[in-house]
């Protein structure tokens, strides 16, 4: 298992191994039991069978099937191209499945049999572990199954699942307690309570998912399939009734020709590519390191109206940063900066480090502290931290804590202190006061830093028709400030899990679709309630089970990409359906004048009035029909890359997007086959002499 297998760095669509496997699969999928699941292609296969039968009869001296005077090579060529049409369709599906299968193989290879050590002594093969078993895992061992750490802390190598090589910390309690079977403990010892039943581990599900074994048709795909079956039925009626119509008009329409017409008319293009589009959509998610636990969720993500985003880590950088030193009257800014730096030297929190970084800008460099410096760590009780050095006591902490400290030391905090604290609070920031002994030196302004580019992304989402809601534990004032700064549409301050759930339900009541990302156990109900719930892989087992997608990178902003992938999937389906139907016009103009070229001719042997409809001026009737069928077949492999890549989504508003896609795929679908069939006819008629 290498990084590459899952991370899927841009790789060409045609990997040699995948190609070979896909080619083999496309022949294997000719099995009618497989084809019947796709009514459109099933009709093509039946047609191919009949035409091939007709050809064999002709080879052995029989007449053309159902009349007409076409030569045997015509039946052979049509039959061959019909088989190719089915094979191309199978190939499209196989190649889409191919990438998943390669990944599944790699994953399967790590499902090696491990022996689990139970806490109460005894051993058990990993495959026989049940929910509730408690196992012990030590450094160097593989975790035998999915579970929750109930004791201890350890660094774990999860690269097998996530492709991320840096180890992560897993510890009991809190939101970092979930471990995945198949990952390896690098240090320390943990006790894990198993949360899965045999064969249903995360790894098993992942294999099934990427392989497509569990692939069920999604609701919209089912609906589209019904539409395609309906269209097929109409065209079947058209072709079946055409034979008596032609007979009444004194024209023989042979069975081969009619089958060719039928196949040309039924929506083979979309029929062939529909399942490939769906598989490729899931695959695109996997390439973004998101595992969709149901195809339904992928589709639903295209419909999302409201996005719930956590403030911390999603909209803002995970931590606040010091941005400004504000000295009290009579204090130099540099003096404050130095004190703040000293008090933070031992502070390993991100806030502390940011103070040191900011202090550097005042020319105060980091110093080695004398050996007799005494560090005072942060405690929940004092809500301060600091250092005692050179007989001075430096402290920094929450405003009221420092005020109390200074008063205890016999000092008197200046009135300006409270003013500054209030000012920063109102501004949406967090103030930290700094003192030396009993003198308040000033205030450090800690600020939530909105991630770069968030404003643009929210604007983009708004253009997509999606409103964003920031969820935060901050008070209303702070939340409002950050909401304004980041450009988010709405915010939920001082959020509790219940409030989150109510918010989601409220939107859903009004008919909106809600997506959210979450990792904590208290996110689980909201994740389960939302239409698209993306659980972070670093999150708890409960969260991972509640969501319908898992983000292996644990990056909440990825929701935006997930939405785009969902939309892309739906657009691609619609575009190729439109293209497929629009194609029929040109095929009619190729095949019908060919069938009725001599109908109602004024004199025998002359061309009749309907020959005027041969606007493409195709060579002969046989060449015209063959060209249409070859075009119909070739368009499938030519569109495979588009089906796999997906039609690009552009946030330009629904009507503009529709107009654009209609122009490309509707109008394009009308025009392209006229050109394609004409070119093929030039080749088939003029070069091959048909």
């Amino acid at each position: 298992m290498t990084d590459e297998t899952l991370r899927n760095e841009p790789r060409s669509l045609v990997d040699r191994a995948i190609m070979v496997r896909a080619l083999l699969d496309s022949v294997r999928k000719l099995d009618p039991r497989h084809q019947i699941r796709n009514p459109v292609m099933f009709v093509v296969e039946i047609g191919a069978l009949i035409v091939t039968g007709g050809w064999l009869i002709q080879v052995f001296g029989g007449p053309p099937l159902g009349g007409g005077d076409e030569p045997a090579w015509f039946a052979f060529s049509i039959g061959a191209w019909l088989w190719l049409t089915v094979i191309f369709a199978n190939f499209a599906e196989a190649i889409a499945e191919g990438r998943g299968k390669a990944q599944a193989d790699a994953l399967r290879s790590m499902r090696t049999e491990t022996v689990a050590r139970l806490r109460d002594g005894g051993e058990k093969p990993a495959s026989e572990l049940h929910r509730g078993d408690v196992v012990v895992v030590e450094a160097g061992e593989t975790i035998p199954g999915d579970g929750t750490v109930i004791e201890g802390i350890a660094s774990v190598d999860e690269s097998a699942i996530t492709g991320e090589s840096a180890p992560v910390v897993r510890e009991s309690g809190g939101d970092r307690s979930a471990v995945t079977g198949g990952t390896r403990v690098l240090s320390d010892r943990i006790v894990v309570e198993i949360t899965q039943e045999p064969g249903q581990s995360f790894l098993d599900r992942m294999i099934a998912l990427v392989e497509g074994a569990e692939r069920r048709k999604t609701p919209n795909e089912i609906a589209l399939n019904i539409l395609l079956a309906g269209l097929t039925l109409v065209f079947l009626a058209v072709v079946v009734s055409l034979r008596p119509f032609a007979e009444f008009s004194g024209t023989d329409a042979s069975v081969v020709t009619l089958i060719a017409l039928l196949v040309a008319l039924i929506p083979t293009t979309i029929g062939a590519l529909l399942s490939a589009i769906g598989i490729a959509g899931m695959d695109r998610l996997v390439r973004h390191n998101v595992l969709a636990l149901s195809g339904r969720a992928v589709e639903a993500s295209g419909d999302v109206d409201v996005l719930l985003l956590d403030k911390t880590g999603t909209i803002t950088l995970g931590n606040r940063e010091a941005t400004q030193f504000i000295p009290m009257p009579g204090i130099e800014e540099a003096e404050l900066a130095e004190a703040a730096q000293l008090s933070s030297l031992a502070d390993e929190t991100p806030e502390g480090r940011s103070i040191v970084v900011l202090a550097k800008k005042y020319g105060i460099r980091e110093r080695q502290l004398e050996a007799h410096a005494r560090f005072v760590p942060f405690s929940a009780e004092t809500r301060m931290s600091g250092v005692d050095v050179n007989g001075n006591q430096y402290r920094k902490g929450a405003g009221d804590a420092i005020v109390r400290y200074v008063i205890e030391q016999g000092g008197r905090p200046p009135v300006e202190l409270q003013e500054q604290l209030d000012l920063i609070g109102r501004d949406g920031g967090t103030p930290l006061a700094v003192c030396r002994d009993n003198h308040v030196l000033g205030v450090v302004y800690l600020k939530d830093i909105v991630k770069e580019g968030m404003h643009a992304r929210f604007d983009e989402l708004r253009r997509m028709g999606i409103s964003t809601v920031m969820v935060t534990g901050d008070n209303r004032l702070t939340a409002a400030k950050i909401a304004e700064e980041s450009g988010v549409d709405d915010f939920l301050p001082e959020a509790t899990p219940e409030q989150k759930l109510d918010l989601i339900r409220g939107h859903q009541e009004e008919g909106r679709m809600v997506a959210m990302a979450g990792d904590g156990t208290n996110d689980a109900p909201a994740l389960a309630q939302s239409d698209v719930g993306v659980a972070m892989n670093t999150g708890t087992q409960a969260a991972r089970e509640a969501g319908n997608m898992v983000d292996l990178d644990s990056n909440p902003t990825k929701l935006i990409e997930v939405v785009e992938i969902g939309k892309q999937l739906l657009i691609t389906r619609g575009a190729l359906t439109t293209f497929s139907i629009a194609n029929d016009v040109a095929k009619y103009f190729a095949i019908l004048p060919a069938i009725f070229a001599f109908t109602y001719a004024a004199n025998p042997g002359e061309r009749g009035p309907l020959d005027a409809l041969n606007i493409m001026e195709l060579g002969t009737p046989t060449s015209a029909i063959l060209s249409a069928i070859v075009f119909n077949a070739l368009v499938i492999p030519l569109l495979v890359p588009l089906a796999l890549r997906g039609v690009r989504y552009r946030p330009i508003g629904a009507t503009a997007l529709l107009r654009r896609n209609m122009l490309i795929f509707g109008l394009g679908g009308l025009i392209v086959p006229f050109i394609g069939i004409k070119l093929l006819d030039l080749l088939i008629h003029n070069l091959l002499g048909a």
Binding site: P219, N220, I222, A223, L224, I226, L227, G230, L233, V234, F235, V240, S241, L242, R243, P244, F245, E247, F248, L265, E299, G302, D303, D305, R463, M464, G465, I466, S467, E509, E510, G511, M513, K567, L570, I571, R573, G574, A575, T577, T578, I581, A582, D584, V585, L592, F596, T599, Y600, A602, P609, L610, A612, L613, G653, A654, T655, L658, R659, M662
Partner: protein, 584 residues
């Protein structure tokens, strides 16, 4: 042609001006609100409820609503069939007509109960006044009301925010008859009488002609049937030649009045829809799509008839306008109406499922004849039959939304309601029944000996006649390319010795029944399914179905579905004739 176009434009302006007025009135009737006629009709309405034991506030879900329709139509059919079979012993039969063949009665009963008014018989030579009035005219009212009632129910489903009830069929039926059809038909009949359309219970009159011979003129209670025949898009003429006959359609003015009667309800219902779903733009969008397709139909048939056929050109028959003549193809047209009014009528009667005619459609040029066929090929959604046109069009709207809606990157929705596999399935049933029936019935008709005995002409003309017959019956239209025969009447007037072809009458009757009720039930089921769905608010990412883009798409889908289904058949009939100067 300028004068002809001016007539057409004025007509359409009058129609468009009336649409919001009538549309609003219809919406109020559907909602059971008070209208200006309530003081007069209210007591009658409440009396009808008491007699029929109808509780209008009692809503029905789609299944109950559909069941009521089936029961009502079945009873109607049996009653009409019985009337037709016992004609000989009924009163008001001055000519003493006996009952015709049973299979003709089957076809006629099916025809009038399904609002088709396909007629294998000639009214004045076959039916008594009693049957025309009590049988056919009553069905003209109630079958039209059924169509409108279904639409009312369907609109309620589209607009519903919760629940499954689509309204009460019986109260819809009563209200639509009492508040809409009866008053308008009453006034219209008086207007027609004032212009010379006849209304009498006297028997036929015989007089001496100027040339010295004698001629018998059939009379009857015509105006009363004429008004509802147009208003309810029924189309079944009192006389065999329908509205080409002066006693049905006296002059240019009555011609325009009758055209307006045909279009007013189907056109206004678009506005009613917009009003009831709370989006008037949506109503106008549907109106615009229909009007655009209608204009193309009028333009093509008018241009084709003015130009004349290749055969006429080849034969040197003058088709240019010259002093005192409009030129063009005047075969089968009334001098009183000329090409413009005949073309307008031909388009109006076939975009709607009316089927009344004021010219012989069989005598249209190839391309001119393609227009009525193509109009029916759309499934009669361009205005269409009263009620049925719009509920059918709404199925096409859902189809359009489903195909095109995907391209905006959301699962398809209309008016905020998701279109899922159940709706797609029902929409397909609704949309496909008509073309499948038309194709298969025509195939049987041209391929079997039983079928071909009905065909008068040979070659493409004969094919067009057959295709037209079954497309007309499958669309509940009722107009015909003459020449397709189902009834032979050797001793007309009167049914003595008359014979009807079982194949044509039975197949046609069956086609009309299936084509009327299957899409109707499918539309009700779609409405029932949508009624319970939540309405998602529209956002920037939502595909708006009230935009010009959507209008273009809807036209595209309707046109392409029709074209793909009927293109091969059209080639072998009207298109051949439009391309050749041979005569068939």
């Amino acid at each position: 042609m300028a004068q002809g176009w001016a007539q057409i434009v004025v007509f359409l302006l009058v129609l468009t001006a009336l649409v919001p007025l009538v549309g609003t009135y219809l919406a109020r009737v559907f909602r059971g609100e008070r209208v200006f006629l309530s003081p007069v009709i209210g007591p009658v309405e409440r009396f009808a409820y008491r007699v029929m034991r109808v509780r209008p506030e009692e809503g029905q879900d789609w299944k109950a609503y559909a069941r009521s329709i089936v029961v009502f139509s079945l009873v109607s059919w049996l009653a009409l069939y019985l009337l037709l079979r016992t004609q000989g012993i009924q009163p008001l039969n001055p000519e003493g007509f006996g009952s015709g063949p049973w299979n003709l009665s089957f076809n006629t009963a099916s025809s009038f109960v399904t609002n088709t008014n396909w007629q294998y018989y000639g009214g004045e030579t076959t039916l008594s006044y009693f049957v025309q009035m009590v049988g056919l005219t009553v069905q003209n009212f109630v079958s039209a009301a059924v169509g409108i009632a279904v639409l009312a129910a369907v609109i309620r489903g589209f607009a519903a925010r919760s629940g499954a009830a689509l309204g009460n069929f019986w109260s819809d039926l009563i209200r639509i008859n009492l508040y809409v059809l009866l008053p308008i038909a009453f006034v219209a009949a008086l207007v027609l009488v004032s212009q010379g359309v006849i209304q009498t219970l006297d028997g036929s009159t015989t007089f001496n002609t100027l040339a010295g011979g004698t001629q018998t003129l059939a009379l009857g209670p015509v105006a009363s049937q004429e008004a509802i025949k147009e208003l309810g898009t029924n189309g079944g003429g009192f006389f065999n030649v329908n509205s080409a006959y002066p006693f049905e359609n006296a002059n240019s003015f009555t011609n325009m009045v009758e055209l307006l009667l045909i279009l007013i309800v189907p056109a206004s219902l678009t506005y009613t829809f917009g009003r009831m779903v709370g989006n008037r733009r949506q109503g106008w969008a549907l109106y615009a799509a229909m009007m655009a397709m209608f204009l193309v139909a009028v333009g093509v048939v008018y241009a084709a008839e003015q130009h004349g056929s290749p055969a006429q050109h080849h034969a040197g028959v003058l088709t240019h306008a010259f002093d005192g003549s409009t030129g063009g193809n005047m075969e089968g047209k009334e001098q009183r109406f000329g090409i413009a009014e005949s073309s307008l009528w031909t388009a109006v009667t076939t975009v709607t499922s009316c089927g009344a005619v004021n010219a012989a459609l069989d005598s249209l040029t190839g391309i001119g004849g393609l227009v009525p066929l193509a109009n029916m090929g759309t499934g009669e959604v361009v205005f269409g039959g009263v009620g049925s046109g719009l509920y059918y069009m709404l199925l096409f709207v859902l189809l359009t939304v489903f195909i095109a809606g995907l391209m905006v990157g959301r699962t398809p929705e209309f008016l905020g309601k998701k279109i899922e596999s159940r709706e797609v399935k029902l929409v397909l049933v609704g949309v496909l029944v008509t073309p499948l029936l038309a194709l298969f019935a025509t195939a049987l008709a041209v391929a079997s000996p039983d079928g071909t005995q009905s065909i008068y002409n040979h070659g493409p003309q004969g094919f067009s006649e057959s295709l037209y017959a079954y497309m007309s019956q499958a669309n509940n239209n009722g107009s015909a390319f003459a020449g397709y025969t189902g009834f032979v009447q050797p001793n007309a007037p009167g049914n003595a010795g008359a014979e009807a072809f079982s194949f044509a009458n039975l197949l046609g009757g069956l086609v009309m029944i299936l084509a009327r009720f299957l899409p109707m039930i499918a539309a009700l089921a779609v409405a029932g399914s949508l009624a319970g769905k939540r309405i998602a608010p529209a956002g920037a990412g939502t595909f708006r179905a009230d935009s010009p883009t959507f209008v273009v798409l809807l036209i595209g889908v309707v046109a392409i579905v029709a074209a793909l289904t009927f293109f091969p058949a059209f080639l072998l009939g009207p298109v051949v004739q439009g391309l050749t100067d041979q005569l068939f």
